[in-house]
Symmetry: C2
Subunit: 313 residues, 2 copies
């Protein structure tokens, strides 16, 4: 009857990138097919402490569990020497309502499902012969996107663009220890890569659409609030194929919505990212393709459920 | 760095009714004074399993913690031999967003704060010389309301009205072991008590307004959804003083709302329950008074926070 709680160390020992990739692939397909439940999230703001808290829930239709995820961001914590983000996931039986376990993951599962979605979609939408990858941003997501995409396809070079050369160098160093050929790049050079993934908290576009080559693919994963914006509307205008992980969400607070409001693309110009994981994309070689990923709550449920199954084995 | 989890046994060992009553009193006053935050809850339904899940959050303005409470109700669980209700409370720092602890209370804290609010308001609104109490309903809330009110004032007799005599007798037996003079009663006799508390899941009124005596007080605590209704609109018409724990909530899904929609009372005829806990009520001896309590989310935060402080001592 004791509530099982698994800490981050236990979760990291158990979970493989393969498990995350497979689960997120199935979850994105389920979401594209309408087989997910994602209720409106609960939001709290604590302006005096420069903090907020989101509670998100979700499930895959018919699955054994649903999840409730608590995520906090208190942005003055660094002054106290503690992380800005905290969180946990409760896994609940969708058959009996019994709370099966708490995954005290400190937000790691969210980072993993974000990385997996980015890598899967970038792989699916890029040309088969694409080999150079550029990441915009130098944080943990930039690292994960590069290393997980490298599990799906060969990457000849990773170009890292950051706001400071110091941080770009630090990420390149990390990527080299993971066997990747990485070097810093200015924005214009990074935008000329075969595959581009943006992982920043930018509020104005991080690249110039004119610098993107024909045949390139661009995935944006950093835009998760209406005031954020990584990819320029002009890029959507040039794109022949646009994918979104959640149509309504990407209009509300993704780069896709910025492009619609700027009049450079139409509201119905996107296809569901999960559809592209079902059948290989018939992609014109010279086409520019774009994916806008804002994060699907039901993937939290799918991943937490799969992780719990592993932990209980 | 390990997430502290406290189970029900630890919580029950630590918490006294005094702690709950004091905390709920302060919380109701804070709520009446607008010093609470209660975001819109998150709701999920699982019709195939006859279940639902509510996630509620809240805080007292300026307090060190906020809480996120997960509560599930799966109403076919009894066939499986497991309880219908489950839940836990996460206590989170409102200063840093760090999750301080999980209280694996199985919904007990909610039961306690409900009982405390009912007892406190019934005591505050009843005539000083009121001594007979009637409870409608025979569940755990009926038991808690009677025993906790008995901590605040002398009760000469508890009349128990239930849908079956068998259950009413069982509750009387429990109450007698707790030192109360209890006996079953038909609805008309129960409605003639000095103090009446209704604790049912009824969808039509459980008593006849004409049976309530002048000078009596009635508290309804069971109506927590729009389709439920314990107290008849005619009772609100007879009442000289009406209290609600949350004005908007009681209109939306309390007995007060049924009375407004029936045209027997005005939308602005209520006063905040917390106000009555600040200064003794100047109550005409012959007045009928009514309290409609629907449950205030910020009280969960106040109570969980106080309980955690005790547990960590």
């Amino acid at each position: 009857m004791t509530l099982p709680v698994f800490d981050l160390a236990a979760i990291e020992r158990t979970v493989t990138s393969r498990l995350v990739l497979d689960t997120v692939q199935d979850g994105l397909i389920a979401h594209a097919e309408g087989r997910t439940g994602v209720p409106a999230p609960l939001h709290m703001a604590f302006p005096e402490a420069d903090g907020d808290c989101h509670v998100k829930a979700g499930w895959i239709t018919g699955s054994a569990n649903f999840t409730v995820k608590i995520a906090t961001g208190f942005y003055s914590n660094s002054a106290l020497g503690i992380p800005s983000n905290h969180g946990l996931v409760c896994v609940v039986s969708a058959r009996t309502g019994q709370i099966r376990a708490v995954l005290d993951d400190r937000g790691r599962l969210t980072a993993w499902r974000t990385a997996a979605a980015g890598a899967l979609i970038t792989h699916a939408m890029s040309r088969p012969d694409a080999t150079t990858l550029a990441v915009f941003g130098t944080g943990e997501q930039a690292r994960l996107q590069a290393t997980w995409l490298a599990e799906l396809r060969t990457i000849s070079t990773v170009l890292v663009h950051g706001r400071t050369l110091h941080r770009a160098n630090a990420l390149c160093e990390q990527l080299r220890t993971q066997g990747l050929n990485a070097r810093p790049a200015v924005a214009q050079d990074a935008a000329a890569a075969d595959m581009i993934i943006t992982t920043t908290a930018a509020t104005t576009p991080v690249l110039d659409a004119a610098h993107v080559h024909e045949g390139a693919h661009v995935t944006g994963i950093g835009t998760d609030m209406p005031h954020k914006n990584e990819l320029p509307p002009a890029l959507f205008h040039r794109a022949q194929i646009i994918a979104t992980d959640d149509h309504a969400q990407c209009i509300h607070h993704g780069d896709f919505g910025h492009a619609i409001r700027a009049g450079t693309t139409a509201q119905n110009s996107d296809i569901a990212a999960g559809e592209l994981l079902k059948t290989p994309l018939d992609r014109p070689a010279a086409a520019i393709t774009v994916a806008d990923l804002t994060g699907v709550g039901a993937l939290d449920a799918a991943l937490a459920s799969a992780v719990l199954d592993q932990l209980l084995q």
